[in-house]
Symmetry: D2
Subunit: 492 residues, 4 copies
């Protein structure tokens, strides 16, 4: 059903259309007078993980309160009136970029249900790979699904669990789902955090003067001055209550396999994920890139803002000066929803402009963190040439993306991934650069601090580069998989 | 859970706060290119049955489309863009004044669910008297209730029915619910109308050049030029499909017992309900009132607008001239949401003003259709005196309201019903009139065309006057009922 | 210049498109703690005089505060926050239906200017007949006109007056303007009311426990419980200050000549204008109409709501019963902004529906207050026939409208006035009635309490019926006047 | 008068409250089918010059069209409907941060007036230093000022000029105003650009395939692919018409004296102003700063984003590595309007977070472009220490700001300028750094390419650093100036 029960987000002319997008960030607070205000701040720090919608559910000792809105956290959750309605000392919250389910209000999380054992709220970062399969079965059994998000499936599984206690119902539900998930949930007594058996999406525990905090990234602890305690481990469920923090391990032990894209792309550079500084990793990706693809040039220019740390690393390693050869218009964020047709044709520089003084007459090395469809690269290479660059060399601080993601990253269909359909030379020709190089998979692993990728037991979830999916893709038909495998063969 | 996921209706300073309120109107179209535009118009004609929210669901042959909004039909559903989104040749719609469930967007009807047999949408006029009991059981069985409306209970019962076909699931669900309901539902093949075993709320069938229409009242047929065919009978379920119109009778046959308030108060005067002109009935209530309570006076003044037909009848029967002695400000509708405190104290005439030229120096008979809390009557009697009336006689064209309703009318708690706590003389004193009379129960039945009320098998649902509830009140606790019975004893 | 600096009112599908429209109501308070709240209420009572925009200016002893909004008074000026911003014990306000100037925010009144002698705010009901001529001269002299309303011309004349005191500047400005005006103005010390030399538009003085009030109609005194003191006389300027109330008479004495349409059509029935009850006048128009055009019929049906008082008078005089044979949908007010094309074609009864039970099989006399374009009459006559009326006789409680207005009433161009282009029989044929009659000019004057119209010195401004304009029409070119005179000849 | 005739901008919790703010950017197009769409894009590129409001006026050959809105350009002027209303081949536009006049809609530019010679629209970057003096005189002469902006004064002077032609009236008006102004104006035939006698604010001429363009900065030419032609010279007025481009020089010749802050702070780094790359100047400020204030440290950290170019220059000159030691949250822009009181107390890192991995255990040199109140510096120094920095050295790439601006920069009152009230050591102590240094005035001039400041005829407007105001400050009373001089003495 298509439904417009509330103001939908109009489909914007997206300045970031050539980027991968993360779907979510989660946050939770147990036992603080300002629980929902802290949650609003935590979500604000996690805003880069999802800009389409945000929601908070609090519990005030008697009632659950919910506020869910389309738009940025700061647009809605900075208002005193909203925060006052979210009374109570427990709260969980969510920011969302939709991968599954339309962006309508009832898909916005946290989801809530009044269950037999009491109220239960949950929010989710990741994507279930057997959600459609489970949903069909649930509807066959008489369940009514109000949203189109995979998270509601979890709620139904909890509601229908024969276990007596809510925490046990939740653990029961986890046994039935597959894929990537970092969950933050709340009952009227407990705050719960859970990470899938491989720990694909991040989740960490913090402490604000004795108040436990759960957050997708450590930068959300920093914003409120909370201390980082530790990452939730892969396959771990922690239950926070008045009695303290319990840890459950409902799954057989496995090696962790976090998503490598959190480092390359998603997490904020000031976050520490899996014990590693994200900024430091990105600089090292630039260093490795400089080692693998040394280039004779006059200036290192990052594609702002994502390419900056790698460019700094590349410049330091190569000794070529780092300059802001491209200036970003910071007001583009939510603007220019419907430019006129004629204007689109002008090739307007809405988002970026060349800094001619740093480019004219120079051999330019452009550094970007990844290459998805290549549409932005085409524009930027052309912009460099128009500004007088004598040579333009594109260097990508990660390997070619050849496979789609099914774990919470909004990747285009495979046929729109440049590296899934073109050879390196075809790609270079497409973007119009004088040369194009990617960082190797092993170079990427070196930047992460490993000697190389362990192909028998890979240290990271890296199927976008390798096709090596870490879990079965149950919702994908055999036919689709066959096609994907053949595509894989082609591009390998 | 309290939830503000969308714009809630702020609680207005209600110019009609001393009125009973209806909760809903329903409408449906099967097989017309403009199905949703016709539904919008039908709902506009039914706007008097609910002003807080409106919704339409259509089916375009492949997908169900839903638009639900707080506010008036004309505010949202007159826009071409909205109607265009509601594509398809089948549509059902609903206007709502909330009695159960907060007025938040997700309580706005029609409700929709994706069931095993396909999509199913339903909207409801009335109130279930065992909804809470059923809801508790459903939650215990793992159902997730998203709304707080009793209508969702019906949806869950349909979803969980073991029957194979959607229509059979729906009939199965009807066996489990009690109370008052006129339902309009839609599958991807059928339009369904259902009326409870007593036919408490109205529902009729119309025809627009071959297109079947379902509507709460005949005035919603008139607006689109459709012909009235017949009322749906009490306990009847009609199923409209490509194959024509089938009638089901899932209940044991009973005498109909429609709600008498539809005639006295709710239905539009130009509607024909149960074969009777509502305007004609109201005039006759005035005629009977004149016969029972003849008064020596100079002028008959209606309390606008509800008292007008009875006042015309009263004037014609008594021979005393009918004059507009009170003028209503038609712009009050949705205005003056937050008047200042000082201004409230001024006793401001926001809604009504005396027409001094018709009142000064005269003996005035005021005619109103009913007396609920009496707060408006106090103001109007005082206004008449301040405008120079020498005598003010209040005549009410229905019996004293002594009992709350549980079938879809928003009555105050019993202790706020003037007639539930005061004697006639106390009421007269409270409102400040020189005399006060009500129409008798039998006079009311005479105006309806009966000799008298048949106490063994009453022709109408009339518990507000008599305490004679037509169905068990299962959700009301024994304790409450005991209390109500004792209250009843007091006022009898 | 076309300008959209603020939210303009979108052009609605106007349920009253076949009505004359008044352009304004004015109100003022001097010396009350709740000056702006009282003004908001007064404007609410005057809402029938203009629904497109409203504004209030207050003075708090130091600063003038202004709030001007498109929409109804109750939509904006009932909010505590708005009223609190309008601090002070003096306030003036305005409701507007635009005749001159587009409805954009900066045309909304009161207008304000910071003059050499201090702040000056003014609002205006009426229309100047030499505004364009004056405006051209002002611009030639270097004035900058921000609005397109004729009221701004007054402001410029005040600003440019060589007199020393603001009141004298204002009197100076009045000498230069022609046409109809009731003005309420405010300096930082005084509240001023002024009526044009003929007193075409109404203005009265009230008293709320010692606080002087100015208002277009007495109903705006009633709403706040103020007493009516007297009408401002034609050509009178009253100046209210701490020192009391002064009366100025800047013009040579003339007989008053108020607009007759205030009685027939514009003023609220509960207002007393020029010492006459508006309701009583309308009833007498009905009585005279019955005398002039006696009809053999079964039922008298008013066109709601404007025809009701005349219909009551007609019914009382003729002895034929008065019935509500047409029911009005009160929710139409601001709804159905963009109905679909197909739906327009259906001939939808958005505003009115026949009350079939009072019409079927009957000879119907329809009573309306006036006939403008006739488009509504066509629909209503057809509706009566479709509801089964055997005969439909249209009776209009005023004379044929043959001339446009230039004094603040929004009349169509002459060629769209039915009575300006058709004979009586052509009109009858056009609207489809069995017979059509208008009240005569002398009958109209009799209803007003005169023996007949005094053609040498007419008691009322009545050019719409007679072509006898009471002032020179300086802005109308000679050519246009010639044309109008010839048209006049044709229709006489 | 305080007025809320339209939606005012609520006063935000400003993440940039410790910054200087520019008031305006201007743009104009002559003779292009997409004139207003190009203007919208140009304004978008100039958005950094004013974020509170934007407006465009176009001329379509017959009528002037105006759209003015509070908010960002992209919020309103990217919509096709808005651009379509702005028909015509000539357009001028404006972005505004208000320094004089409240931010209400009628202060938003371009301003327009219907003058004797035709329509005239004008917009303004800068500030007049005799506007109040002129305004008082104008009002005394009967002018009505609708806005509180100084730009309206120009409009009145044009309107009242005795000259016959609009261009001559405009030149006449320029003779009467003093201060800083870059004006873009439009008649129904001509596009006009004017720069004050000293050329304090920037204005340049561009060319888009033959279409002349006026813009505050060259980056607004780049966005639409227009070529930079030249700067408008100080004291030059250029008039663009069908007949080509004329240049007028209504003032006695003087040396130019552009505002030095455009280079240090306001202009976008990719703009070329006065023939110099802004980015290049900023890098050189960093280079000079490194030469003047060499520091033994481990890492150079820019305060983002304004300190980045100077930090790159500093790092290159000093050989100490440049790292992003502070990460900016890019979503802060318009968010967190009303944070709760408790949360403010937490010292929340809404805008910035330390990048601990680059700071912990290190001696940090922080580079910022300027120091205004110092409130942000306090927070950032503390943030560095909390992140583990062993030493924190603050280096400012411009001299101490000791004087307020009256030429279009929103500087705090002098007593809030840190450098106007404290010694260097007091400032260091206040911000909590281990050391603090500013670039010298002569170092600043060296970075601009001069040997030193020419004190007899300074090359730039630099009174904020020197107290040397380039024009008389007529609106400032003698008393105020005296006080300022004494303050100046104190801080010298």
């Amino acid at each position: 059903m298509h439904s417009s029960d509330a103001h939908e987000l109009s489909s914007p002319f997206d300045p970031d259309e050539d980027r991968l997008r993360e779907e979510c960030g989660v946050f939770g607070v147990f036992g603080h007078l300002d629980a929902s205000a802290l949650t609003a701040l935590g979500l604000h720090a996690l805003q880069h993980r999802g800009q389409e919608a945000a929601g908070i559910v609090s519990f005030d000792g008697q009632r659950f309160q919910s506020e869910r809105r389309l738009g940025l956290v700061g647009d809605h959750f900075s208002k005193r009136s909203v925060i006052e309605r979210l009374a109570g000392e427990m709260a969980i919250g969510h920011v969302r970029y939709s991968t599954t389910g339309e962006t309508i209000l009832r898909n916005v999380q946290p989801l809530f249900a009044d269950l037999a054992g009491g109220g239960f709220a949950v929010c989710h970062n990741g994507n279930l790979t057997n959600a459609l399969t489970l949903r069909k079965q649930l509807i066959r059994d008489g369940a009514i699904c109000q949203s189109t998000s995979d998270t509601e499936v979890i709620l139904h599984l909890v509601a229908r669990s024969p276990k007596a206690k809510l925490v046990d119902k939740f653990l029961d539900a986890l046994q039935q789902i597959e894929g990537a998930y970092s969950l933050v949930a709340m009952t009227n007594k407990k705050l719960i955090g859970a990470r899938d058996p491989l720990g694909i999406r991040p989740l960490c525990l913090g402490d604000l003067d004795g108040t436990p905090i759960l957050a997708s990234e450590s930068c959300a602890l920093d914003i409120i001055g909370a201390k980082f305690v530790r990452d939730i481990e892969n396959g771990e469920v922690i239950v926070i209550s008045q009695d303290g923090i319990e840890s459950h391990r409902p799954f057989a032990p496995r090696n962790p396999r976090p998503c490598i894209f959190e480092y390359i792309y998603f997490a904020r550079p000031d976050s520490v994920v899996g014990g590693k500084s994200v900024y430091e990793v990105r600089k090292k990706l630039g260093v490795e890139l400089a080692r693998e693809t040394a280039t004779d040039a006059d200036v290192i220019v990052p594609v702002p803002d994502s390419g900056v740390p790698a460019a700094i690393g590349y410049a330091q390693e190569s000794g070529i000066p780092f300059e802001l050869g491209i200036i970003r218009n910071h007001y583009v964020g939510r603007t220019f929803i419907e430019p006129t047709q004629q204007i689109r044709a002008l090739g307007v520089r809405l988002k970026h402009n060349a800094n001619r003084s740093q480019v004219a007459g120079k051999r330019v090395v452009l550094i970007d963190d990844s290459l998805v469809r290549g549409t932005t690269s085409v524009k930027i290479v052309r912009m460099m040439r128009e500004a007088g660059a004598t040579e333009v060399h594109m260097r990508i601080a990660s390997p070619p993306i050849t496979h789609s993601d099914y774990y919470g990253i909004d990747t285009p269909e495979r046929e729109k991934l440049l590296a899934a359909t073109m050879t390196l030379e075809e790609m270079r020709d497409f973007i119009g650069a004088d040369s194009l190089s990617f960082l190797s998979v092993d170079g990427t692993y070196r930047a992460m601090g490993h000697e190389r990728r362990d192909n028998d037991s890979p240290q990271y979830t890296d199927h976008c580069f390798t096709g090596d999916y870490p879990t079965p893709l149950r919702d994908i038909t055999a036919a689709e998989r066959a096609q994907q495998l053949s595509l894989l063969a082609e591009t390998a």
